[in-house]
Amino acid sequence: MIAGTPHTTDEKAERVRADFPLLATRTSKGKPLVYLDSAATSQKPRSVIDTVSSYYERYNANIHRGVYEIAERATEAYEAARKRVAAFFNAASTDEIVFTRNATESINLVCYTWGFENLHAGDAILLTRLEHHSNIVPWQLLAAKTGAELRFLELDGQGRVVLDDLERKLQGVKLVALTHVSNTLGTIVPLEQIVPAAHAAGAVVLADGAQAAPHLRVDVRALDVDFYAASGHKMLAPTGIGALFGKRALLEAMPPFLAGGDMIRRVTFERTTYNELPWKFEAGTSNISGAIGLGAAVDYLQTLDMTWVREHEVALTSYALERLAAVPHLTLYGPKQAQERGGVAAFTMGDVHPHDLASILDAEGVCVRAGHHCTMPLHELLGLTATARASFYVYNTFADVDALIEALEKAARIFKL
């Protein structure tokens, strides 16, 4: 056991765990569930599940236009959720929080509106080599259509973003789109260094916070990012709800994205004027229960306290890195220091293919992901087609890490490493 406050954070995590009904279930083989795939999606606390059911059982109604009681209540709950999300990210106003389906849609929204409006042939978009497909493919499409160019910040041997040539790379860049925390290597990208440089170069910055929002205290004003994308389902909320933070001036200048009900102010057969922020970007009936569920998730996280969330993650990750490093034939990827990474550990073990590894772990009740984790280009760069990935969240404990290690040792025996 190493630095940090593993014992105290772990005691709380044991209590937190009890709030998550799924974690009390067992596999078909009767094994307790060791859920280590929160980077793919998090489990949900009872309070979030109940908030959603309670919406459907007590005040399910369409929002924004209803005069009757339950419609009023639904509207209030939906907008109160937006207020909670705005506070969670420390946005200046609820107008700057748009509800989307997920981080992917948040990024695509910016791509289709701000991107197509502002990027032209010869402009450059700067990404990192860490990016998830959701923060590569939209920009590839945009580049193909506009003639803009994609550039990449390189990585060092530990998967950290190299900043030496940042200023040179920023020349001619209109948009910097980069992950806040890598979902594969765990790398925390130093936005506080990149954002000012990007702004100095005249670029707008979009941060993909899918893996950061659940784990770090994210303050969009302190970070000074222009856009910030997040997925609810990775931060204890239901599936189908995400958020896009955008600075008001940018959002106001942007054309609408999806068109339809609720995002309009006046429609005639000939012409339409659009609604105010943030509704201008929310066309059609929203995922009302999802948004209300996200509000409950954010409440839950704030009750846990994001400082504790991060402390526990560092403690757990330190412990996991230490134990994984001691497993024979195991290769770990990403930064060596837990402080420099999120709660994600990607690895390979001898010639055991990650899919076989995940299957063997599954038989032990240990849920890890195997594959490219939607970062095929990064894997190719590392000379890999796949890795196994364990990822941690508020309900994981040191005992979960021990279970992972035991299962890995079993896999090593089966494969006679």
């Binding site: 010639d351 089966i414 494969f415």
Partner: protein
């Protein structure tokens, strides 16, 4: 999925696959992958009188996909193309001792079969074309 699945002989096929490599001047060569996990297999066939005269495969991926392909190439050598096309998923699974395999992994187990069938199909099409071109 049953951890017992990774039996001795499966690991042997994985680490020392049979019929591995390629054929010189194959009649047919087909490659495919399983996009979900990145497994990839290429099969070369020599066909004589509607039978698989020789076969080689090359690939990368998990033990399940590679061992399955290895065992399958053993099994189909000398087989009639038509019979080969009749091979089903269940036979593969039984052959592998993998009846209880999780759905996501079944695609791994059957990737070799899929590629072999595609190759056999193409061989049959060629035969029909050749037939059609006779005066």
């Amino acid at each position: 999925m049953d951890e017992l699945f990774y039996r001795e002989y499966i690991l042997e096929h994985y680490r020392s696959p049979h019929n591995y490599g390629h054929l010189e001047n194959p009649d047919i060569s087909v490659e495919d992958d399983n996009p979900l996990c990145g497994d990839r297999i290429r099969v070369d066939l020599k066909v004589e009188d509607g039978r698989i005269a020789d076969v080689r495969f090359e690939g990368k991926g998990c033990a399940i996909s590679q061992a399955s392909a290895s065992m399958l190439t053993d099994a189909v050598k000398g087989m009639k193309l038509e019979d080969m096309l009749r091979l089903g998923k269940d036979e593969i699974m039984e052959n592998l001792g993998a009846e209880t395999l999780a759905a996501a992994r079944i695609k791994c187990a059957t990737l070799g079969l899929k590629v072999l069938k595609a190759a056999a199909m193409r061989a049959l099409e060629r035969a029909v074309e050749a037939e059609g071109q006779r005066p």
